[in-house]
Structures are given as structure tokens and as C-alpha cells.
């Protein structure tokens, strides 16, 4: 009888373990920002938002070597990843909401 109970308990436990795993699954988006001359760009705002919204869900600011990393939890299938900096053209990418690497190359805005 006891031998029968063990697997039941185990499945019960495994079920809850998988549930917590599902709830806490994190998407990690990282990458590097360069300018046209392949030089790293720092202080670039990288934001993640829903497809048709400007509302920011998570963000990062590129470091002095141009790297960024964003961790977020989301139910969305796809996300809008944007890179913006002063005097540079804003770049946007529609991405799948899975952990991946995305690099950007920003072009300077024409001086007015």
C-alpha cells in the first residue's frame, strides 16, 4: 500500500514544481549596440513593450562597451524591442518572447 502512495505523492509534487517553473519562466534578451563604424554605443535606452503599445514593460541602458541585458516575465508571444539614443535614429525590432540575443546598429540623425 505504501509503495502505491509514493508515486502519487511524487506526481503531485512534480505537478507543482512544473507549475512554479512555468510561472517564473524568464525571458532574457541581451545584445550589443554599435554605431555605423562598429564602435560600441553606451547610454542607449533599450526597451521592451507590447506589440502595439508604447508602454514599457522592461528596459536596460547599454554600458560603456555597448552591452545590454533585459530580464522579464511576460505572457506575450511577441514583443517590440526598441533602441533609442539622442542624435540617433530609433531602431525597432519585432521579436519572439523567448530568450535570445539581438544586436543593433544605430545611424546618426541628420543634423538639423
Amino acid at each position: 500500500m505504501k509503495a502505491m502512495l509514493l508515486p502519487k505523492k511524487f506526481f503531485f509534487f512534480a505537478f507543482f514544481l512544473s507549475l512554479t517553473f512555468y510561472v517564473h519562466s524568464q525571458t532574457v534578451i541581451s545584445g550589443k549596440i554599435n554605431n555605423d563604424n562598429k564602435e560600441p554605443l553606451s547610454s542607449v535606452n533599450i526597451t521592451v513593450s507590447k506589440k502595439n503599445s508604447s508602454l514599457i514593460l522592461a528596459y536596460s541602458i547599454s554600458d560603456k562597451n555597448g552591452y545590454y541585458k533585459i530580464s522579464l516575465q511576460t505572457k506575450e508571444d511577441s514583443l517590440l524591442l526598441s533602441a533609442s539614443a539622442l542624435n540617433y535614429e530609433r531602431e525597432e525590432k519585432l521579436i519572439l518572447a523567448i530568450s535570445s540575443e539581438y544586436n543593433f546598429t544605430l545611424s546618426p540623425k541628420p543634423t538639423s
Partner: protein
């Protein structure tokens, strides 16, 4: 040969002498700062200007800057009046009464991830270093239009107070008044949860081509944030005691009570 030696000798020397760093000022924006005193029900006002460049920025009180310009003129006048070497006392009533602004100047060096703050306690000048990673912003889904910019809400605790910031993605400058920043856009409105301190963006403009940001700590004594906090606290709570304990100057009051103790309630409590 001699010329070469001469050059090699002087190049490192020149670099050492200038404790200055320069950057081109690209944008200039300003905030109205309001400090509400719950005891007197009065609102004190100041105006902070931020000059933002490629890899650095500076924030200062425009009231203090204007005062300094006016004071320089009066200092010259007073020197002409008393500068004969015989007079040992300067009459403070020779100076105009002016609104007081913050004596703090906050320099941010984004490339070094460092903040340099210069400040004054009476006439003593100090500077200290601080980190740029001071905030753990939690972004909310609330939105609001501030000064025509679409803003989103973010909250963070900072040294004893809880703050709400409204930032805009429309201006991709990760900056704000004083030490505040680190959001994916310019801070347009900022206040602590008791609404004691409020910063409101009132202007944003492109700077003139030739404007420079100069980080200069020449003539400032190096200290730490904690030490400066203690000195300012001592001065606020007992101005006369503080000044006389410094030993350089003696102040005699003939009238007025504007040097009486005030409650020291700075933005940063820790």
C-alpha cells in the same frame, strides 16, 4: 634632443595640473523644485538646470548661479570700499538680500558610472564621489502627460524616502534632476510619497553649439557623503556655533534672527 626631453617632461605635467574634464553641452533642461514644510505650511522654491552632453551632465541651482554672478559684482565693490588693508570687518548689509538656492552641483560621468558632487558649507568647499547605481526602479503601467510628453510611472526607494517618477520615452536621455536618473527616458516629474519634495520639468531645449560642461573640483576639499551630511547638519542646527568653531571668521549679529537654527531635513536621509 633637448626639445624632446623638454616635451616629455612637460606633457604629463600639463595633464596633472588640470583637474578639469570637458564635454560639449547638447541639451539644457530645467526643473522647478518645490519643498513643502509641513510645520510652517510654506513651500520653498528652487530651480535646477541640467546640462547634458555626450558622456556627462551637470545639475545646478539657477538661483545660486545668478546669486554668484551678482555677488561677484558686490565682492568687487566691497573690496574697493574696505580693501585698504586696515579694515578687518565687513558689513554684511552692504550686500543685497537674495533668495537662497541649493549650493549642490551634481556631475554625472556616464562613461565612468560615477557621480561627483560639489557643495559648500558656509564658505568651505567640498566634493565627494557617489555611485550612479542608486535606484531600483519598478516600472508601472500608469501613464500621464507632463508638459506635453507622454510619461510612464516608475517607483524607487532612495536613501530613506520613496519616490515616484514620471519619465518619457520621447526624450531618450536617462537623466533627471540632481542624482536622479537611470530610467529609459527623461524624468518629467518626480516626487516623494509624502509630496514633500517635487521636481517638475519646465523647459527642454537644445544648447548653443559652443556651450561646454566643465567638471572642475579645483579648490574643493575631498570628503565623503557621510562627513558632508554631518557638517551640514551641524551648521543647520547651530549656524553660529558651526561658523565660530571653524575659527576663520567671527560673525557678530547686530539685528535680525535669520541665523537661527533650522530643522535639517535633506532629500537624502541616510
Amino acid at each position: 634632443m633637448l626639445k624632446k626631453i623638454f616635451l616629455v617632461f612637460f606633457i604629463p605635467f600639463i595633464q596633472n595640473v588640470s583637474a578639469q574634464k570637458q564635454d560639449t553641452c547638447l541639451y539644457r533642461f530645467s526643473y522647478l523644485f518645490e519643498k513643502y514644510d509641513s510645520l510652517t505650511h510654506k513651500t520653498g522654491k528652487d530651480s535646477f538646470v541640467v546640462e547634458s552632453g555626450y558622456h556627462s551632465s551637470v545639475c545646478y541651482s539657477s538661483i545660486t548661479r545668478n546669486n554668484d554672478t551678482i555677488l561677484a559684482v558686490y565682492n568687487k565693490k566691497v573690496m574697493e570700499m574696505y580693501g585698504d588693508g586696515k579694515t578687518k570687518y565687513i558689513n554684511l548689509t552692504d550686500y543685497p538680500v537674495m533668495a537662497q538656492g541649493s549650493t549642490q552641483k551634481v556631475y554625472k560621468e556616464m562613461d565612468k558610472n560615477e557621480i561627483v558632487v560639489t557643495d559648500k558649507v558656509v564658505t568651505d568647499k567640498f566634493f565627494y564621489h557617489d555611485s550612479m547605481e542608486l535606484f531600483t526602479w519598478q516600472i508601472a503601467a500608469d501613464t500621464q502627460t507632463v508638459e506635453g510628453y507622454s510619461c510612464q510611472k516608475a517607483e524607487s526607494h532612495f536613501r530613506g524616502r520613496d519616490y515616484t517618477a514620471w519619465f518619457t520615452y520621447q526624450i531618450p536621455i536617462s537623466n533627471g534632476p540632481l542624482k536622479f536618473g537611470g530610467l529609459p527616458g527623461l524624468i518629467c516629474k518626480l516626487y516623494d510619497n509624502t509630496k514633500r519634495f517635487t521636481f517638475s520639468l519646465i523647459s527642454f531645449e537644445k544648447a548653443n553649439v559652443k556651450d561646454l560642461i566643465v567638471i572642475d573640483t579645483t579648490g574643493f576639499q575631498k570628503t565623503t557623503r557621510k562627513k558632508l551630511y554631518m557638517m551640514r547638519k551641524a551648521f543647520f542646527e547651530n549656524p553660529m556655533g558651526y561658523i565660530n568653531s571653524q575659527g576663520n571668521v567671527n560673525i557678530t549679529l547686530t539685528s535680525g534672527n535669520n541665523t537661527s537654527a533650522r530643522k535639517y531635513d535633506p532629500l537624502e536621509l541616510e
